[in-house]
Symmetry: C2
Subunit: 215 residues, 2 copies
């Protein structure tokens, strides 16, 4: 590790726009990376890659993600509002290049499933397509959208209605081994990483030392 460098707010302001976007998108750390599946009222399916999914609550099971300003056509946003449903599908190393391809701008009549050569499948519960090649797939109903005044983005919140997962990845204590399921992580806007578990740690208590509960 070399010397520690420092950048100030004004250095960011002066950076070339794309460089600044890459840098600031690196700061939150590693991210979960999901394909969001939706369908329009005309039956055209859509996939978009989302790296801002965040846990909102466990009971009820709620997840959120940040939608960029709706100043241009946003198929995912429109479809969620129209149908009330969407899916989140974890990326894995077999599909990350195809998944990245879905971030290209396609005409409204083109499905990203076709463009990226991914297979759409459906459950009886959710009016939105799942990605067959994904190993952890979550179906959600739309709950609410919360405007973020400072920059015109929106926090989209959904309730988990169903979860598909490889049956050997769910531990007895509820821990879902997403590494074993092959899920990957991303950094900045264009980097993808596999993971290697260090450990699961015991519940922290003030009067006790942390222990490794499993590797």
């Amino acid at each position: 590790m070399k010397n520690i460098a420092r950048l100030l707010s004004r250095d960011l302001t002066e950076m070339e726009r794309h460089s600044r976007t890459r840098l600031v998108n690196s700061l939150s750390g590693f991210k979960g990376v999901n394909l969001c599946g939706t369908i329009s009222k005309d039956g055209i399916t859509n996939l978009s890659i989302i790296n801002s999914v965040v846990h909102i609550g466990a009971n009820p099971a709620l997840m959120g993600f940040i939608m960029r300003p709706v100043t241009v056509r946003r198929d995912t946003y429109n479809n969620i509002l129209e149908t009330g449903h969407y899916t989140l599908n974890h990326l894995n190393k077999e599909i990350f290049k195809k998944a990245h391809q879905t971030s290209a701008r396609y005409p409204i009549e083109v499905s990203e499933f076709e463009a990226a050569e991914l297979i759409e499948i459906y459950s009886d519960l959710i009016k939105a397509p799942y990605v067959q090649e994904s190993h952890i797939r979550i179906g959600l109903t739309f709950v609410e959208k919360i405007p973020i005044p400072v920059n015109g983005t929106t926090l989209m919140i959904g309730k988990v209605e169903e979860i598909f997962y490889p049956e050997d990845t769910l531990a007895a204590d509820g821990y879902l081994d997403i590494e074993k399921a092959g899920s990957i992580t991303s950094s900045s806007l264009d980097a993808y990483h596999t993971t290697q578990k260090l450990a699961r740690l015991s519940y922290a208590k003030a009067d006790r030392k942390i222990e490794v509960i499993s590797f």
Copy 2:
């Protein structure tokens, strides 16, 4: 990979509470994991582990995180509102056990820096402590808090004022190599993982195939 299993919303409702929390916290995928440093108006420093940091925008550079309902004493929340400042410090494998220890419930007069044996350092700009052992450190000013009505959580938004990083981790195009900096990722509530880069991919265009731009 074994058979795909399915859980429904009512299965989640019927699960033991802690198991449900572990499972639902697994669903968003891998997470960035940060120590949030703050100081009270009485000068007592605080550290809390946060795995819900999310990118809000690049210009201005904004980051958010989800604060659990403020129905009990939340030192981080109170300190941010009192001072207007906080720091986010990426975890690495040298400090993840100490960092996990900060999630224990300590009396208000105890600093988690002391309890977890981490070293606090300061810049001239931010009235909040940084974690010296962290390699990527971000200083923020508080911008706004946005209530999430559905479950009483709050989205806390801050503006990036300064960034400290190992100077050999910032690429010419703005990509910050957080893996090279030793940052780690987390899953569920208690698992920590190192990463291994698969690739950086080219900007997606509808008429072009995705290419690897670096490994």
